[in-house]
């Protein structure tokens, strides 16, 4: 047996009474692509933070090439050949690719050495087929290119073990395939990869072994995954069986929301150009597309954060002439924003405050500017029960809730007012299977009640399960719209990449 590239043995880490990692072990041999699976709060992030020196483990040890090491910070990790690509990139957008690659690297005599960096960039291109034009500004790169740059950055710094946190959530299917080819090349060279993901299909496609975590412990280590069904993997993650949601047939009703030739400002790629569509009662409209192609601009208009520069937004046949967050809410738009931690909720406030945040002036919660604390509390407790929000109580600081519970809280808040139209922007990003399922069921329930949902998502599987129609956005336009019966992953993927719809 060869020496393991990386061994984490018996890692235990607790936060107060919570055992985030309980005797977790994993081993990565040269050539391994290891899938790390688990629900949110299962302890994956804690484990990786221990590996990167963000936290110190209470017990357990880390061995690299058979030798015990101590990692106190990310610089230590890099020195030991461990590189990580986070979900959120750490790049300087106003600098060039080359400059970003040189950040934090000292050349001989303190001088930065452009030539060596360019040479290593060339070598990485030959070895793994990964390349980004060094003179390009990072701000101009697509998300896929930025991710490639992050991987190159880790490789140039000498990473032998590469950790990817949810790497495919922002890629087109074709880009994902390109990433997988590079990962296979790394594996062939004897490097190791840890692949953190919720997408079971991809985990099965790319990894050769899987470690599944649940509640801080390793519940299964599988040395081969191809013959393990997705249902089995999901079950191992959640501890119970997950059945796919059922979409009953619903006849679309009246038009609830319409875009009429809407245009906005923004970057050349993202600003909307002549967006026109209708959303009918009892319909879920899926919006696919690589992020940065106008989805944010679209959701900003529906959620009242921006005015269109051209064209109209109509709700129930009426032109919305003064768009503001308060006004669109009054017209019956419910909103689940992309960034629940920064935009949707105020994490520093108690849960009960967030539950009434947009509705604080409703007579139910205040009268003549004086709050009704009792009503706010009762409402929160009731919604916590209905939506199964797991929190110590209504007074808990919202930021301490897990991702799934945060999203349930947002749903509980928005659905309490029975919206006509629900805008859901990446509603299940970062959620585990069970929480995502819960969100989906709520969308289908709205659909059944004759409401409408606009679902903006980068998760094609989600779009295909829920949508009645799929619209694909590319460079601020709707590059194609089709009923779900005519949609295929291949077709949507090509439209996402800007190909013309085949007539």
């Amino acid at each position: 047996m060869p020496v393991a590239l990386l061994e984490m043995a018996g890692i235990t880490k607790s936060f107060g009474p919570v055992l985030a990692n309980d005797n977790v072990s994993l081993t990565l041999y040269p050539g391994d692509i290891l899938g790390l699976l688990g629900e949110n709060g299962a302890g994956k992030t804690t484990l990786m933070n221990v590996l990167f020196g963000v936290y110190t483990a209470d017990a357990g040890e880390i061995r690299i090439n058979g030798e015990r090491v101590r990692i106190r910070n990310s610089a230590d990790a890099l020195r030991h050949g461990i590189g990580m690509v986070h979900q959120h990139f750490h790049l300087v957008p106003c600098h060039t690719v080359l400059e970003n690659l040189m950040v934090g690297r000292k050349g001989r005599g303190g001088r930065l050495n452009k030539k060596t960096v360019l040479e290593s960039l060339e070598r990485i291109k030959e070895r793994f087929g990964l390349f980004v034009e060094p003179a390009a500004l990072v701000g101009d790169l697509t998300i896929g290119e930025q991710q490639r740059l992050e991987i190159i950055k880790a490789l140039i710094r000498g990473a032998r073990v590469l950790i990817l946190d949810e790497p495919t959530s922002t890629l087109t299917p074709q880009e994902t395939e390109g990433l997988f080819e590079a990962l296979r090349a790394m594996s062939d060279e004897g490097m190791g990869v840890i692949f953190i993901s919720h997408k079971l299909q991809e985990v099965r496609a790319i990894t050769n072994k899987v470690v599944i975590m649940r509640r801080g412990r390793v519940t299964a280590t599988l040395d081969e995954v191809e013959n393990v069904s997705r249902h089995k993997l999901a079950e191992l993650m959640c501890g119970h069986e997950i059945t796919p949601p059922v979409r009953e047939p619903v006849t679309p009703g009246e038009v609830l929301l319409a875009f009429k030739n809407v245009g906005t400002g923004g970057t050349a790629r993202s600003r909307l150009k002549g967006i026109t569509f209708e959303l009918r009662a009892g319909e879920i409209l899926g919006i696919a597309g690589v992020s940065g192609n106008g989805q944010k601009e679209l959701s900003d208009i529906i959620s009242g954060m921006a005015m269109p520069e051209a064209g109209n937004l109509e709700i129930k046949g009426r032109v919305v002439d003064r768009i503001s967050p308060r006004y669109v809410q009054r017209l019956g738009v419910g909103r689940i924003p992309e960034d629940r931690m920064e935009i949707g909720l105020i994490t520093a406030l108690p849960l009960k405050d967030n539950m009434v945040l947009p509705r604080i002036h409703e007579p139910r919660f205040s009268r003549k500017g004086i709050l009704k604390p009792r009503a706010i509390l009762d409402f929160t407790v009731q919604q916590m029960k209905v939506f199964d929000i797991r929190a110590p109580g209504p007074e808990v600081r919202t930021g301490t809730l897990s991702g799934g519970n945060l999203q349930k809280a947002l749903l509980a808040r928005e659905l309490a007012w029975d919206p006509l139209v629900l805008l859901a922007d990446q509603p299940t990003r970062g959620l585990d299977v069970a929480a995502a399922r819960f969100v989906h069921q709520n969308f289908l329930e709205l659909r059944r009640k004759g409401r409408a949902v606009i679902l903006i998502s980068e998760d094609l599987e989600e779009l295909f399960t829920l949508s009645d129609r799929i619209a694909v956005m590319y460079e601020g336009r709707i590059n194609g719209m089709m009923p779900i019966s005519e949609a295929t992953v291949q077709k949507v993927g090509l439209l996402m990449a800007g190909m013309e719809a085949a007539a």
């Binding site: 106190r72 105020i346 405050d353 947009p358 205040s366 004086i370």
Partner: protein, 355 residues
């Protein structure tokens, strides 16, 4: 070898929240004891004299309360502003604006006597509010940094006041830079015979309760906290961030203005150079010590009032310079900021064995 590192806390225990300000005060006193030692006095007796002189007799207690009055109001002013993350460093200037308005209105002839005190209170609050609203509008409309504008407006009004005192308001007899005295009917009533306990003390306490109510029980207080914690999410929820910051600034400036009104109406009956020995700046320290909790402002302000009034007696008895009071104030800010760090982080010690 033992090393330590900071780790983020998942939860902050309740007792810690109450304990931290006390620990900060204790640490301040310990740190400053070095200076007392250097001044050649006994640490213990110096502190004993300091606290005893401020808290011992009825007279001294009243003096401490009178001293605490402007501090409570400037402390509250900073609490309201900082809760909205409107960095009002300008309570000092807003206090002067309130004081000048009170001195002007209190000397108005031809007004019914009963109307003077309400007029001073209202006018002083409005003057302070205007002086605070200017930087708020600059911030929300033109994104001008509020720390800079609120701070610099202090100097603008300070020099403006000096120009006034050396010009139109100069005392014609003595030639001192003192404004004309307010009318006797404008002087704040004294609440306790033969002391200086004036109406301003009541105003400060009532203001504290009102601000507590505002912060905890009103939609405006709710919005101020929300905007302070996350303006983007507040806007998304449908609040007008600019309006909320404007109102927070107006309330903040109004409170600081009231501090100035109290000094004029209750103590000095005129405006003169040095009417505020930095009450506005001390208000910042008090607000931090109170952890932006309105009810915490009273104990924090009283603590500083004790230090300021006690420092003189201590100086007389032990020869330690009165400037120790300033050092204690500054040190308290630093220790409190450090204490707040422990609110969010914990220290973990770890034994390290080198292989």
């Amino acid at each position: 070898m033992i090393t330590f590192r900071m780790e983020p806390r998942e939860h902050t225990p309740v007792w810690l929240n109450a304990l931290l300000p006390l620990l900060a005060v204790l640490a301040t006193l310990v740190i400053c004891s070095g200076l007392i030692k250097m001044a050649g006095a006994s640490v213990f007796s110096a502190y004993a004299i300091l606290f005893k002189s401020a808290l011992s007799s009825k007279f001294n207690l009243v003096e401490t309360a009178v001293k605490a009055t402007p501090l409570i109001l400037t402390g509250l002013a900073v609490v309201v502003a900082f809760r909205a993350k409107f960095w009002n460093i300008g309570a000092e200037g807003q206090l002067l604006a309130g004081a000048m308005a009170a001195a002007y209105l209190g000397a108005l002839k031809g007004m019914p006597g009963w109307s003077l005190i309400p007029l001073m209170i209202l006018g002083g609050a409005i003057a302070g509010a205007i002086w605070a609203v200017i930087p708020a509008v600059l911030k929300t409309r033109y994104k001008v940094d509020d720390v800079v504008t609120t701070l610099l407006l202090n100097f603008v009004i300070d020099y403006g006041m000096m120009a006034l005192l050396n010009g139109p308001w100069k005392d014609p007899l003595s030639g001192y830079p003192d404004s004309p005295d307010i009318l006797p009917a404008a002087e704040f009533p004294i609440l306790l015979k033969a002391t200086r306990l004036h109406l301003g003390v009541v105003i400060a306490v009532v203001a504290t309760l009102l601000i507590w109510f505002l912060a905890r029980r009103t939609t405006l207080g709710f919005s101020i906290t929300a905007v302070g914690e996350n303006p983007k999410a507040s806007r998304y929820a449908g609040m007008s961030v600019a309006k909320v910051i404007f109102l927070a600034a107006a309330i903040s400036g109004g409170l600081a203005g009231l501090a100035g009104v109290g000094e004029v109406g209750g103590l000095h009956f005129q405006v003169m150079a040095g009417i505020s020995p930095g009450y506005g700046y001390t208000g910042i320290v008090i607000a931090m010590l109170a952890r932006l909790n309105p009810l915490g402002v009273i104990p924090a302000a009283v603590f500083f009032a004790v230090i300021i009034t006690g420092a003189e007696a201590m100086s007389r008895a032990t020869g330690v310079p009165v400037f120790l009071a300033d050092v204690i104030q500054g040190t308290a800010l630093v220790t409190m900021l450090i204490a707040l760090l422990f609110n969010q982080y914990r220290i973990r010690f770890k034994k390290v064995s080198h292989a």
